[in-house]
């Protein structure tokens, strides 16, 4: 009976597979991407398109070349591409985006054996690589212009965090923050990477993911909470030197990082306890870099560094097995 199959139990399976999960995350990223396109116009759409397509093409070519099964259809390459695009300035030249995709897919993922084997978040590896190699292109921000069809001009705007750092260096205080309307970063009317500008749109995506049980609430809440708490403490100590916690929560890549990058299943701890440790670590490093480091933004670095700790965290936070407690 060759048409009868035999396998180990169980013989039924949940419908939620990897492509399904990847699709959900992509859906959740759509609001953020739309806001990016709304404020930055066509260039933003171009960056997203190039990034997604080149990630998928590169993944297919690499897998073919390595003689492995081509798994582009599982959506993970598309997701990496979308995440990478959201981490780039809207005005990035095409070669920067393609180079980023190459780094993300080949160095970040396929070299380790593909999805599930990579210790670092591929999109972040690419972003940090580009940030260090091409600091000028990676910090040339487009001025947000809330008109979909009108192409944004190349007058570069500054990110709130960048302005903060400049003010710190030049004036030794941060009075500039007083002038910033906090509603702008909430809805996205600020300079910054394509996908990180609107906290509101990103939170909508995050709530969707938590409701769908794709991610657990632990990482976003503890990550953002740690940042808020630490910046809050320093703000209370000296509001002239340190910006207020709401500003820190809403600006830069914190929302994007905490909701979408740090929660990447492959590169975050597997237990909830581990996730909390991981998120707190991310928060602390982010704040340290933001307040005292050379870079204005530390979310990407923080997540990458904590990615390296995941193996250790997983080993430390194993659940207590049944039958030893009581």
């Amino acid at each position: 009976m060759k048409d009868i199959f035999v396998s180990s139990s169980p013989h039924i399976h949940s419908v939620e597979d990897i492509p399904w999960i990847m699709r959900q995350v992509i859906y959740a990223l759509i609001p953020g991407a739309l806001v990016g396109m709304y404020f930055f116009g066509l260039p933003a759409a171009k960056v997203i398109a190039i990034s997604v397509v080149s990630c998928m093409v590169i993944e297919a070519i690499t897998q073919k070349f390595m003689g492995r099964a081509v798994t582009v259809s599982d959506g993970s390459a598309a997701l990496t591409g979308l995440l990478l695009a959201m981490n780039l300035p809207a005005g990035s030249p095409w070669w920067l985006v393609v180079l980023g995709s190459l780094i993300a897919v080949v160095l970040g993922k396929q070299v380790y054996g593909g999805l599930g084997n990579n210790p670092f978040n591929p999109a972040l590896v690419a972003r940090v690589f580009l940030l260090i190699s091409f600091p000028v292109q990676m910090t040339t921000w487009l001025q947000p212009r809330p008109f979909l069809l009108k192409v944004a001009d190349t007058v570069s705007g500054a990110t709130p965090l960048g302005a903060l750092k400049t003010a710190m260096f030049e004036h030794g205080s941060i009075d500039i923050v007083g002038k910033l309307n906090l509603m702008d970063p909430f809805f996205g009317n600020i300079g910054g990477s394509l996908g990180e500008i609107s906290a509101f749109a990103l939170i909508i995506g995050g709530v969707y993911l938590i409701a769908r049980r794709i991610i657990s609430w632990h990482i976003p809440v503890f990550f953002i909470g740690t940042v808020a708490l630490m910046t809050g403490i320093f703000w209370v100590i000296n509001p002239n030197l340190y910006a207020n916690p709401v500003f820190h929560m809403l600006s830069g890549g914190l929302m994007l990082g905490a909701i979408f990058m740090a929660t990447d299943m492959v590169t975050s701890p597997i237990t909830n306890k581990g996730k909390i440790i991981f998120a707190i670590g991310c928060g602390v490093i982010t704040v340290v870099i933001r307040l005292w480091g050379g870079y204005p933004e530390g979310v990407s670095f923080a997540i990458l560094i904590m990615n390296a700790f995941v193996s250790l965290i997983n080993k430390m936070t194993r659940p207590e097995k049944f039958g030893v407690g009581k």
């Binding site: 009976m1 048409d3 009868i4 199959f5 035999v6 396998s7 180990s8 139990s9 169980p10 013989h11 039924i12 399976h13 949940s14 939620e16 597979d17 990897i18 399904w20 999960i21 798994t71 599982d74 054996g113 593909g114 999805l115 599930g116 084997n117 657990s216 299943m265 492959v266 590169t267 975050s268 597997i270 237990t271 909830n272 194993r318 659940p319 207590e320 097995k321 049944f322 039958g323 030893v324 407690g325 009581k326």
Partner: protein, 439 residues
């Protein structure tokens, strides 16, 4: 509602067979009776080729305490004692093949009528032992062993397991609905053997009519407890945890926390043995799944070939998998010559759409398996170690605590065969242990 931590909610699919009353399968012409239908030491045949046997007559004699006899399912002659493929191991195992004479004559004196409550606990225990009763939920552990706890571990909680948490299956449900007295009286016999004055009957809340009926019929000393609908609610250790709040220690037995769990079907078989003297020669099982034309709950003699069961149920249709037991822990079969056994709680025929034949990918560390694992292990790690045959490292990850319930594998989005890897690692560990003993 009482429950435990972890577990999953697979689609129940009980509707296929749940409302079909139990029907008796016509007597087969030939019976394949495996001598090993229990966990523990094998049993030795006491009949020879050509012998005439009567229904209920002893065919094998248990070797040692943890062992169980088998009995002739009908009258006829022993055609052959030979080796055939065993449904559980897939390897060749000894069988006694009986050609039925169609008269279906009882062995002398059977069935008798006696009052089990006038007998001593010791006598009852002996009857249960000689009747070849094993756990009928699928584990097939000899019942009399469970009923003989050592003196330092007295049993004070007796649980009748009517949870039937496996999807698709409804045999215990039908039994509870149609023959509640057998279960209740059997439970009272067990209570007498153990000297208990109370018992708990656990039924999953998705069987409200069974709960209602049992609440009506049970005497006050048996308490009916509705359980949350969740897999694996019917697992011994988790039932005890949910009902008493006590966890069976790792590597221990329920008796370590003073508890004993018996499946509803087992309890009914105990009644038959003690009151009527009928050994375990037939059982109730669900024949279901989209791959069978007429799903039925059947009363079937042990040793009946699968082929007859399928014929009775209208034949197969687009079958991709044949399973003994439920879809979560059942054992896949590949031929129709294997017999129904004492532990066959269900016969499932799944189509390709219902089952899962896809290949698997790398673990993406989503953590769903950890949340689902009722034993609170790290199944993702066990499967990764399994890929590398690293059983020693797997012991650190509590390999031996895994009960192979399949929850992790059910939820794994990468479709990883975690249970398969666990079985493999356990095999390696057993082999290494055996080797160590030899040396």
């Amino acid at each position: 509602m009482k429950t435990f931590k972890g577990g999953i909610h697979p689609p129940e699919n009980k509707i296929l067979v749940k409302d079909n009353a139990i029907v008796e399968l016509p007597l087969s012409k030939v019976f394949f009776v495996p001598t090993q239908q229990h966990l523990g030491a094998p049993a030795k045949p006491v009949v020879n080729t050509g012998d005439t046997v009567k229904r209920g007559q002893v065919l094998t004699e248990p070797m040692g305490f943890v062992s169980a006899a088998v009995h002739a399912p009908t009258s006829g002659t022993v055609k052959e004692i030979t080796k055939r493929v065993h449904p559980v191991t897939g390897l060749l195992a000894p069988y006694i093949i009986i050609e039925a004479d169609g008269k279906d004559e009882w062995a002398p004196g059977l069935p008798l009528e006696r009052d089990p409550f006038s007998m001593t606990a010791k006598e009852l225990l002996n009857i249960i032992r000689l009747s070849g009763i094993v756990g009928m939920g699928g584990a097939t552990f000899p019942t009399h062993v469970k009923l003989s706890p050592p003196k330092d571990k007295p049993i004070h909680t007796f649980i009748i397991n009517g949870a039937e948490c496996e999807p698709y299956l409804a045999a215990d449900y039908r039994l509870m609905l149609e023959q509640p007295e057998r279960i209740i009286d059997g439970a009272r016999v067990v209570m007498k053997v153990l000297g208990l004055d109370s018992a708990i009957m656990a039924i999953e809340a998705n069987k409200p009519d069974a709960i209602r009926l049992m609440q009506e019929k049970t005497p006050p000393e048996i308490k009916v407890e509705p359980m949350k609908v969740k897999y694996p609610q019917g697992a011994e250790k988790h039932l005890i945890d949910a009902l008493t709040g006590r966890q069976v220690p790792s590597g221990g037995l329920p008796m370590d926390v003073g508890a004993l769990v018996h499946n509803a079907g087992t309890v009914a078989a105990i009644w038959d043995a003690c009151a009527l003297g009928i050994p375990l020669i037939e059982r109730i099982t669900s024949v279901t799944g989209q791959g069978i034309n007429q799903p039925k709950n059947i009363k079937v003699r042990i040793g009946t070939p699968l082929k007859e069961v399928f014929e009775f149920c209208g034949g197969l249709n687009d079958a991709a998998k044949i399973i003994f037991g439920g879809p979560m822990m059942g054992i896949a079969q590949y031929c129709e010559d294997v017999p129904v056994m004492k532990g066959t709680s269900g016969i499932l025929v799944l189509t390709e759409q219902e089952t899962n034949l896809n290949s698997y990918q790398s673990c993406i560390a989503c953590g769903r398996c950890i949340e689902a694992c009722p034993m609170r292990l790290v199944p993702s790690m066990l499967s990764r170690l399994g890929e590398r045959s690293m059983w020693k490292e797997a012991l650190d990850f509590n390999l031996l605590d895994c009960m192979e319930c399949g929850s992790c594998t059910y939820v794994c989005p990468a479709n990883r065969p975690i249970v398969h890897f666990v079985k493999y690692l356990k095999t390696l560990q057993r082999e290494a242990k055996a080797k160590g003993k030899e040396a």
